[in-house]
């Protein structure tokens, strides 16, 4: 049998379970083969009762068994099941996941909201690329799902910032289930409800002027397929802000029946119409963008795109997002970047000693970028503040586990005994501890080499002698570096202990 790269993704969402199977194509990145949807409102269970009901679990099993059959049609052995807010927030999530596994043999991963944003961004971005729409200008993407509203801030084709708000249309519908959607009261309560969240969001956004507003999500998809027949094929359409606003206003008062009739959608899609429209309207009102782009996005397609594309692509977004996060706390960007470059240099040149892979390098780089942000809270014990600020962040592409590791590395950038938070690292193995310590030892040296925050070191060449007993750090500098020399001496101890080496520093002055 000939082989091709096929990948299947099942997305267990708040209002439906979807599956996409796609093939990696030489010409285009992504050739979708199958796309299936089955409505099931896990979100109603979770958002209203906190737990997923037995009926929903049974129905989920039934659907997954069918989807599994289609995977088999393609002999697709590579696939991934992801679940979002409805499962993630369910109190009985562990039971649910186990039940699904026992009855279908399928393991569902609950993904975090930052990951969701990544996937949505990937999917949207690929549509934009095809439509030749530029993402250079400051853009705000609002993807309104049924469980979560995902906000992604974009500049220069990259994600700067993501935030998930619990403003999903179905969730809002369920929270306010005792108020009639058509009533004026519903609009008012909902607006107030949203306002609180959006105000908070505005305060943390790194810039205030949004040029492009990108709207994605199921309901907006349905409306635009109806309004613009080409939308289904093009998947992206640029519209005038005022016109978009008018359209929203118009649909605000459409009844469920009319919606079902006109758009040929099922009635369960119709009852989240009003909350959806209100959220979009409010965003437009507040950010008043120059133009609006309506685009198609699909979490499942995003997962596949990320599977098919090279991983470095995402590292870039993570770095950009980390820098953005650092700026929030007034961190010195030049120093942060310098430490990051030095870390990368040391990491790559000493790989024969530490044997770590690329994913460790990413942890190290982000830790390097953010190691000083604790100063924002207090200079006293700033490393401790650094730790929790990182751990609590939502940097694009980083899971809670990853963030905890980064936080731990960053916290230990100072030359004292390595300390791991006993609560966060209660499950960590000795091996993993050693890996983190290796990263810490590199960060300490890198930080020492820019101790004066003056970016004096222009180049670093590391020489490891034959028997691996001695490591020489040859630096080229533009000026004298007494402080760096001193710091180096005091910060190589961990490195020496871990790798059984002596560390030497040699300096070469260059004149500009």
């Amino acid at each position: 049998m000939k082989k091709s790269k096929l990948f299947g993704v099942i997305d267990v969402g708040a209002s439906a379970i979807r599956m996409v199977i796609a093939e990696k194509d030489d010409k285009k990145v992504f050739k979708p083969l199958e796309s299936l949807t089955q409505s099931i409102r896990l979100g109603t269970d979770t958002f209203l009762n906190g737990t997923i009901s037995a009926e929903s679990a049974w129905a989920t099993v039934k659907i997954l068994k069918k989807f599994k059959r289609i995977l088999k049609d393609y002999n697709a052995s590579q696939f991934r099941l992801v679940a979002t807010s409805a499962v993630r927030e369910a109190k009985n999530r562990e039971y649910f996941l186990d039940y699904i596994y026992q009855n279908t043999g399928l393991q569902i991963q609950t993904i975090e909201s930052t990951e969701e944003c990544e996937f949505i961004f990937s999917s949207m971005r690929s549509e934009m690329l095809e439509a030749n729409i530029d993402l250079a200008a400051p853009s705000l993407l609002l993807d309104l799902g049924t469980g979560t509203a995902r906000i992604i801030l974009i500049k220069d084709q990259k994600m700067l910032f993501t935030q998930s708000l619990k403003l999903g249309s179905l969730r809002l519908r369920e929270i306010l289930h005792d108020i009639d959607v058509q009533s004026f009261e519903f609009h008012k309560v909902l607006q107030a409800f949203i306002k609180a969240d959006i105000d908070l969001l505005r305060n943390v956004l790194p810039f205030s002027k949004i040029t492009q507003f990108i709207a994605t999500g199921g309901v907006i998809d349905d409306i635009f397929r109806f309004l613009k027949p080409d939308f289904f094929r093009e998947k992206v359409t640029k519209v005038d802000t005022r016109w978009f606003y008018q359209i929203l206003d118009q649909y605000k008062s459409v009844s469920q029946e009319q919606f079902v009739e006109r758009f040929n959608v099922s009635s369960d899609k119709a009852d989240v119409l009003v909350p959806t429209i209100i959220v979009y309207r409010y965003f437009i009102e507040i950010f008043n963008p120059e133009s609006v782009i309506v685009a198609h996005s699909s979490l499942a397609e995003g997962v596949i795109l990320n599977e098919f594309s090279a991983p470095e692509y995402f590292d870039e977004h993570i770095i950009v997002s980390a820098i953005e996060y650092g700026k929030k706390f007034g961190c010195e960007e030049v120093h942060a970047q310098q430490v990051m470059s030095l870390c990368e240099s040391i990491f790559t040149q000493t790989s024969s000693l530490h044997g770590l892979d690329e994913s460790s390098l990413l942890i190290l780089k982000v830790a390097a970028l953010l190691h000083d942000i604790g100063h924002y809270v207090n200079d006293q014990g700033h490393h401790k503040h650094t730790q929790y600020l990182i751990a609590a962040s939502s940097i694009i592409g980083l899971t809670t586990d990853k963030l905890a590791q980064i936080a731990a590395v960053a916290r230990n950038h100072r030359r004292y005994a390595v300390h791991f938070d006993p609560w966060q690292f209660r499950d960590i193995t000795e091996d993993e501890k050693i890996q983190l310590k290796k990263l810490i030892s590199i960060l300490r040296i890198a930080n020492a080499l820019d101790r004066s925050h003056e970016k004096s070191v222009k180049a670093l060449k590391i020489k490891i002698n034959k028997d691996k007993h001695q490591v020489t750090f040859k630096v080229r500098t533009t000026k004298n570096i007494p402080l760096e020399k001193w710091a180096f001496k005091h910060n190589t101890q961990l490195f020496s202990e871990l790798f059984y080496v002596d560390c030497l520093l040699s300096e070469e002055r260059i004149f500009e």
Partner: protein, 701 residues
């Protein structure tokens, strides 16, 4: 006029009466002495079986409506009661014609050619002995007389079976007894007489009648009469909560044998005491009684018409031509460009070959197919089973609800399941009528899908008798749509958005209406639009109103409707620009093709759907655009040839009747024969000689 103004009842022809008109066209073929004699006999039989089904389903349904007190008139303005009355009087008239034709024309001519159905008294002594043996050794043991008296309830009389009602008296007694004897269906209706006079037969009821007294020993037969009842078989399946559709249908099949009586046919007079008993028992109305019907149930004539030899009394053979588009590598052939296949002019083999090849091909991952009616021992079913045994993923959607085929459907569905196929029984409440085949193949450049979408069922037998067409394609958009279609009909996914197909009941109706609107939008005085539509039946009121509206807005509409047509053409200011023809010929016209001029960029579509409410509302149907220019050319030729027919075509008149085309000054043109000639391989000379006489084989789908 506005669209809504076209809904007046005077603009519509009654659906049921239009059906009878169609059946009359079938009968006309039997009456047409330019048709070969045995082909005429086939039409006699088809006329009868069409009528049987019509009574069971349509008249049965109307009777239900009357009983439920439903009194709303149909679009042509007739209430159910009125329809029943009109149907009865028309049917009486037609049946009379049928028997006249049979007895005065066909039977005497058959006799001339040495084919004869004899009466008992015509038999010679030796022949009578043979039948005596036949009766006592074979029939006698199977006969089951059922008494009817205060101690025995009225026996169950099975739908469409032949039965004797017998009035008895004990020897020396005065008291009357009644009994019923069913003519056992296990024996052939016609029993061959071994004589040297020619091909002679005796009807089984003739033999049973002669020896009936021996069945009732100790009694004397006072009177006996042979009769046949037709029952209402229009069951509405309560699918809600029907967890197991298979079991539910098996159950319903049993009930079909006991539905309300809608017709009573009597081989003899209707005024006997015996008939009165039956009439009372089944509450038969006088207009539901058809007497002097001898012999009863002419469907058996199909057997006689297929008698071996007598080639000079039959149609010339028209063996299907091989399609020139298929060579050695069927996949490569399809990838080269879409292929249009038109049966029975072209052979059905490529479809079977495609499935058979897929079954053995290690690169094929999965096969999916909709099966509606398949032949017994179908090569399609065998190939699918083989594929499953070879480890392919085979999904088959079996439509159990194909009327009167349910029993056989259940059987081969089980065969497929045993072989490891994944068999799905359709969506609750919707009959899956689309015809689709999907093959998923792993190729060097990735996954490739091959599809076939057609107008006819995957049935190798009917593919030699019905005209149908289909498209093979490997294009991605079509493949993705068909994948979605299967996910929808197997209940695996909710409907998505279609790239190329239109699918009923989701968007097909809307699509048709938009196409008509689009045609109107592009038309004006001096710039006529043009729609050509070929289908089996045209019933849907909404579509008809849009056609009237288009006719009034500079769109010329040519309709080729084989069967029922409720549209009334040629009404001033309503349907002046509409013509309707019907072709009833040797092959059953079955293809559905829709053409829209579209301002000079013509659109062609093939569909599984007629313009009937049931197709557009209650069935899963597809319509596929014909995009490849070569395929469009084929579709165009098909329509043109049909419109040029002046031998078998009839033209619908404003009054609902059909007339033949005035051929004066025109060269004779018979579409089916011309299409057959056109399908012949281009390089070799066609060797078949066409006699001017050809015949039809039609049955109601």
């Amino acid at each position: 006029m506005k669209l809504e103004e076209f809904n007046e009842s005077k603009y519509f022809i009654s659906r049921e009466l239009s059906f009878l008109e169609f059946n009359y066209r079938v009968l006309e073929e039997a009456m047409d002495n330019t048709n070969p004699l045995l082909e005429r006999l086939k039409f006699i039989s088809i006329f009868s079986s069409n009528l049987d089904e019509f009574f069971m389903v349509r008249v049965g349904g109307l009777k239900d409506q009357v009983e439920a007190g439903y009194n709303k008139p149909e679009p042509a303005g007739l209430t159910p009661k009125e329809q029943i009355k009109r149907i009865a009087s028309k049917t009486h008239e037609l049946v009379k014609k049928q028997y006249n034709c049979l007895k005065r024309s066909i039977i005497p001519q058959l006799r001339k050619h040495g084919i004869e159905i004899l009466k008992y008294q015509d038999l010679e002594e030796g022949e009578r002995e043979y039948f005596e043996d036949y009766f006592f050794n074979r029939i006698y043991s199977v006969l089951t007389p059922m008494a009817y008296d205060p101690g025995h309830p009225f026996p169950v009389i099975i739908n469409l079976s032949l039965n004797f009602a017998v009035e008895l008296r004990k020897k020396n007694g005065k008291k009357r007894f009644y009994a019923f004897v069913q003519v056992p269906p296990v024996f052939p209706r016609l029993i061959r007489v071994h004589s040297n006079k020619g091909k002679c037969f005796v009807l089984i009821e003739e033999i049973i009648s002669r020896y009936l007294p021996t069945v009732f020993k100790g009694y004397q037969i006072v009177d006996s009469v042979l009769f046949r009842i037709t029952r209402n078989a229009d069951f509405n399946l309560d699918e809600e909560g029907a967890e197991d559709l298979l079991a539910e249908i098996a159950k319903k099949l049993k009930s079909r044998k006991t539905g309300k009586v809608v017709r009573l046919e009597i081989d003899g007079k209707s005024n006997s005491k015996l008939i009165q008993k039956i009439v009372d028992e089944f509450q038969v109305k006088s207009y539901e009684i058809y007497d002097h019907i001898t012999p009863l149930d002419l469907t058996f004539m199909m057997k006689l018409a297929s008698i071996k030899g007598f080639d000079h009394l039959k149609n010339n053979e028209l063996p299907p031509h091989p399609s020139p588009s298929f060579n050695d590598d069927i996949y490569e052939d399809i990838k080269k460009g879409d292929i249009f296949l038109h049966v029975p002019y072209e052979s059905f083999d490529p479809i079977i070959k495609l499935i058979e090849a897929a079954a053995e091909d290690p690169d094929v991952l999965a096969i999916k197919q909709v099966l509606y009616r398949v032949s017994g021992n179908s090569p399609v079913v065998r190939a699918l089973a083989r594929a499953a045994e070879n480890g392919k993923q085979v999904s088959v959607l079996v439509e159990l609800k194909a009327r009167f085929d349910e029993e056989s459907n259940i059987n081969w569905a089980k065969t497929l399941e045993k072989a490891g196929c994944h068999v799905v029984y359709g969506i609750v409440g919707l009959k899956t009528h689309c015809k689709a085949l999907l093959i998923i193949r792993q190729e060097a450049n990735g996954v490739q899908r091959y599809i076939h979408l057609g107008t006819g069922n995957y049935n190798d037998k009917t593919a030699r008798l019905y005209t149908d067409c289909g498209i093979f394609t490997a294009k991605q958009d079509f493949g993705a749509d068909v994948s979605d279609l299967f996910n929808l009909i197997t209940g695996y996914s909710e409907p998505g958005h279609w790239r190329k197909l239109a699918v009923a009941p989701l968007n097909l109706r809307k699509r048709f209406i938009n196409l008509i609107k689009n045609e109107v939008a592009q038309s004006g005085p001096g710039n006529y639009g043009h729609i050509i539509a070929k289908m089996n039946s045209l019933v849907d009121s909404e579509i008809i109103q849009y056609l009237y509206w288009a006719s009034c807005n500079y769109v010329k509409i040519d309709l080729i409707v084989r069967g029922i047509c409720c549209l009334r053409p040629g009404i001033p200011d309503v349907s002046e620009n509409i013509t309707v023809i019907s072709i009833v010929d040797r092959f059953l016209e079955h293809s559905r093709i829709y053409y829209f001029q579209n301002g000079g960029q013509p659109l062609y579509f093939l569909s599984s759907a007629d313009w009937m409410p049931r197709n557009l509302n209650r069935r899963i149907e597809t319509m596929v655009p014909v995009e490849n220019p070569a395929c469009q050319q084929r579709a165009k030729q098909l329509l043109e040839f049909n419109l040029r027919d002046n031998i078998k075509a009839r033209v619908l008149q404003p009054d609902g009747s059909y007339t033949r085309i005035d051929r004066r000054g025109k060269a004779p043109f018979r579409a089916q024969i011309e299409l057959y000639k056109a399908a012949a391989p281009k390089t070799e000379e066609t060797s078949v000689i066409f006699s001017p006489i050809f015949e039809v084989s039609a049955s109601q789908d």
